[in-house]
Symmetry: C2
Subunit: 584 residues, 2 copies
């Protein structure tokens, strides 16, 4: 057996920021080198950021990524870090591939580079391209067919990219046939509730299948609608967990491993998997024996409830969306209700109270407790509060154009939307829309009214989860000796849009416990009218809710983006036909 110290860099690149991302690689490589690591591994597409979506189809962007990756190799050597082999994801193109049906123009590839001694030494690319849910990779990339195997300190380490670990055959099978001593995958694997155990179990299964340790390097932070919670880890050849990084944090996980020494006879380079093995020797000889570091195994989150973890994911999502779009402050219309209270609290935790602006916009239908609950939230959290009476503006509209019923209700919401956007324009804050997933699913919102904004922190949270988040956040504050940030009144009162006298959500929608269960069954598990009725839901209710969901497609398309926390999300919203006449 040989010893190897591997550093896994759980970092947070920004899509398009090639210089900044390269800087992260240099900085973390220096840190790894100082920690005595023999090998540093960065996540999928760290040079370009991930996901690049259609930027992969822009030729000049692919060229810029390739150039940046070569320059990165040179810079590492220039800064005295050329001896340590570095694996980093980047956007490459497959040369010599003519235009062909079913293949994106320019043959872009989701690639991994081995940087060593000032150059790019081995290049490979993702073999299995996911094309479901949030992924469009078959559309944007061509697959790779190379398994890089790098000899470091006398150990053969094989590398693969993300989805390649999840699929049978391909690079995983090739790693075994190539007689690698370890398999490391580089990932941009988005957060989903309870996905962490799935990842660990996958690594364990693969390790046992191929009989070697498996390392898993994931991103941290958030990009656009995706959150990356990290959870980088290593399991040994029996599937036992060896090391695990803390979640939602940028970190360098440095771990000492005992790995099988590579055979002197070169094993076959064309295994049966159809993958071509490309070998590179960074250092042939086994390193002299040294005392190993104690492995880091970050504590696991609360096993009884993941609500606190969801909260942390939402804070991460907003923090990075704001930062990566150049915003340092946020603006929220505070109604006194639960949705705006939770959104504001997330914003305070992400950006700091001084950077959060709350706009109170009471109308003649606003109840006293709405105003007082909103004021109480401003007071408790110390955000910047401002009150504007909307009635005079509503009156001016109604003088200009007579409206009634739903049109009058929507008018109030649009006056609020315009006031929020005006203040954002004037002062430069990111506007946060406060809609939850139950509202978005059923279309219970006003287009260009409460739906205005740049980001919607709780759009993938059912209303019942929003209440859970509020209770968790208050309990968390109490457990640390702080005052609960969210006024109890906002949590306990029955939800109301307050767009007409005595209006409650339950006038239009069923009770949220029932509604959310039904919505999750319809959207999450793709069951139709017959199956839902057979599962015990009232047929008339099922039909009404399905119709609401399908008809709300247009509103969902025009809603601001927000962090995805579930594979059972409204991902369809991007793709359903705009015209959807069909209901089951």
């Amino acid at each position: 057996m040989a010893q190897l110290r591997i550093a896994m860099a759980q970092v947070n690149p920004t899509v398009g920021d090639l210089a900044g991302n390269s800087g992260i690689v240099v900085e973390r490589t220096r840190e790894a080198s100082e920690a005595g690591a023999h090998l540093v591994v960065f996540p999928e597409m760290v040079v370009t950021g991930y996901p690049v979506e259609d930027l992969a189809l822009r030729n000049s962007f692919v060229s810029a990524s390739i150039k940046a990756t070569h320059e990165l190799a040179e810079r590492l050597a220039d800064e005295g870090l050329g001896d340590i082999p570095v694996v980093a994801g980047f956007l490459n193109r497959r040369e010599g591939l003519g235009a062909r049906f079913g293949q994106p123009a320019g043959a872009p590839q989701n690639s991994a580079a081995l940087l060593h001694q000032g150059g790019v030494r081995v290049v490979s690319a993702k073999h299995h391209l996911p094309n479901y849910g949030v992924f469009d990779e078959f559309r944007n990339f061509v697959p790779g067919d190379v398994l890089p195997v790098v000899r470091v300190g006398g150990v053969d380490v094989a590398f693969a990219v993300c989805e390649d670990l999840w699929q049978e055959g391909g690079p995983v099978a090739a790693a075994r046939e190539a007689q690698a001593g370890m398999l490391v995958t580089i990932n941009g694997s988005p957060y989903e509730r309870e996905k962490d155990n799935v990842r660990l179990e996958l690594c364990q299964r693969r390790a046992r299948e191929i009989g070697i340790p498996v390392g898993y390097v994931n991103m941290s932070g958030a990009q656009d609608e995706l959150i990356f919670e990290g959870d980088s880890l290593i399991v040994d050849s029996t599937g036992e967990l060896v090391a695990r990084a803390p979640r939602f944090e940028d970190t360098l996980l440095v771990t000492d491993l005992r790995l099988p020494e590579a055979a002197q006879d070169e094993p076959p380079t064309v295994p049966e998997s159809g993958i071509r093995v490309v070998r590179y020797t960074a250092s042939a000889d086994v390193f002299a024996s040294y005392p190993p570091l104690e492995p880091v195994v970050a504590p696991r989150p609360d096993p009884t409830s993941d609500v606190g973890e969801v909260y942390r994911a939402l804070v991460t999502g907003l923090r990075d969306y704001a930062a990566k779009n150049g915003f340092s402050s946020a603006l929220i219309a505070l109604s006194g209700g639960i949705d705006s209270a939770v959104t504001a609290t997330i914003a305070v935790d992400a950006l700091g109270a001084g950077n959060v602006h709350g706009l109170l916009l009471p109308s003649k239908y606003s109840s006293d407790h709405s105003v007082s609950d909103a004021e109480e939230l401003v007071r408790r959290q110390g955000v910047n509060g401002r009150t504007v009476q909307v009635q005079p503006v509503v009156d001016a509209f109604e003088n200009a154009l007579e409206v009634s019923g739903v049109a009058a209700e929507n008018l109030q919401a649009r006056v609020r939307g315009t006031l929020v956007m005006s203040l954002s324009n004037e002062e430069g804050h990111l506007v946060l829309a406060t809609g939850n997933k139950s509202e978005l699913a059923t279309g219970y919102s006003t287009l260009y009214g409460d739906s205005v904004g740049g980001y919607a922190p709780i759009k993938d949270c059912w209303k019942t989860l929003v209440w859970e988040l509020a209770r968790w956040r208050n309990a968390h504050a109490e457990s640390t000796g702080e005052a609960p940030p969210i006024p109890e009144g906002s949590i306990s009162k029955p939800p109301s849009a307050e767009l007409r006298p005595g209006q409650y959500d339950t006038d239009t929608l069923p009770d949220y416990d029932l509604l959310d269960t039904l919505l999750d069954a319809y959207i999450g598990t793709d069951r139709g009218l017959r199956e839902l009725t057979a599962a015990g839901f009232d047929p008339a209710l099922v039909e009404r809710v399905i119709t609401l969901v399908d008809r709300a497609e247009y509103k969902r398309r025009q809603y601001p983006p927000g962090p995805k926390i579930s594979s059972r999300n409204l991902s369809r919203d991007r793709r359903l036909p705009i015209t959807n006449r069909w209901t089951p």
Copy 2:
């Protein structure tokens, strides 16, 4: 040689309207039967409408499509139409296919059914699945591997679906190897400027390659953002055009052909293409000789300019978007400028003047000619006009919240947006956004202001094309002895948003001739800074415009849908990362 009378039904189904679409098939089959046709062919996915997008992934929808297709076969027989073989596209699933990576759940297929004698006799599915531009078919379908060959009147006719005709190998090669006497493809092929000649040339090339006549059946009408102009056609085995349907019209193209009689010896059923040939005999014997009909060859559009054809496409797009979404009337904010004038004129041509509502919303910055040009348009076209002064509402906002500069400009646009949406809410009109492609590309619009609405008829038209459309429409009116619908003032004056005194588009943007040329080069041909500069554009201008385009991503995502008329469209707008920090 044998005679065959083939009826190609160029029809306009609606996505999700299974009953309505089946009704179209029955009605056109009856018409074909009465015309003495031996075979009727309908477009791709006629039973479900096209494109179904993610509806393909909804299990209950796939089941409903299969049920509707079987019921359609029974109904045809019940109504005395069982003897005539009918080919119709539908949504099917591939049975017995387990869950697998890279394959959508439930294995939906973009399929063709042969209906005959009350049953579904042969089922096949599209082999080549397009996954670029407006297509996501690899995401939504699994490929087929069957080539149906139907013997009708002693002639073997092979069928394929859409993209299968465009690609080498697969069904086209199989049709030759199966010794078919004719190949007919069923299509949902969207309109693009100048695509008609591409289609004809493709059919000609394929006919010559495989030495048999080729028929091409396409949809008419529009669905969501796609327009289908029909252009169904038949070429003989030498590639000579035999028959061609009129464009943009629902029609039944009935054509007599002389085709080779099928060999008595059954040719091999597993040709080298990997496609399995499935044969069905509707009628084995050659039909008795009869006098053929004169083939229909619809006249070609103006070969010197396609502007009139683009105009017709836009009218078709709006007509069907309104109808398929249940709107009979439209509402447009009329500024007196060219964009709203052309949008209103399209609406009048699509929906009738009585169903078009123009809202004039002058502010203190509106010039006299803006108001008079808008009033003149209302007068000339006889649309319903109404004027609302926006200043009192703007004043009410400014009393509530002080704003300046761009925020004040945007406020005016948002007051207009809210007024338009309020009237739509109150009276039920479809709101038309009037932005053009140059504006959308550069982000020259106000979120929730001039960008509100349900449909944007000219969003894929460069500003220079908008002027061409106006001039073409006026000239067309004059050529038919009518008064020009668009006031000359709206066409000739320099464009201005009139959101501050003396404001012109050229204050912010370059001249539109130059801008549109540059935008088309950047967006249409994916050239970066270096290539555009090398092509002679000013480097500073290129950098400024590229930055504008990339930063306008968020606004484009929230813009209403509109008809696509070009493959050089902003299709990226759906998929670019929301955060796009990279500029070349």
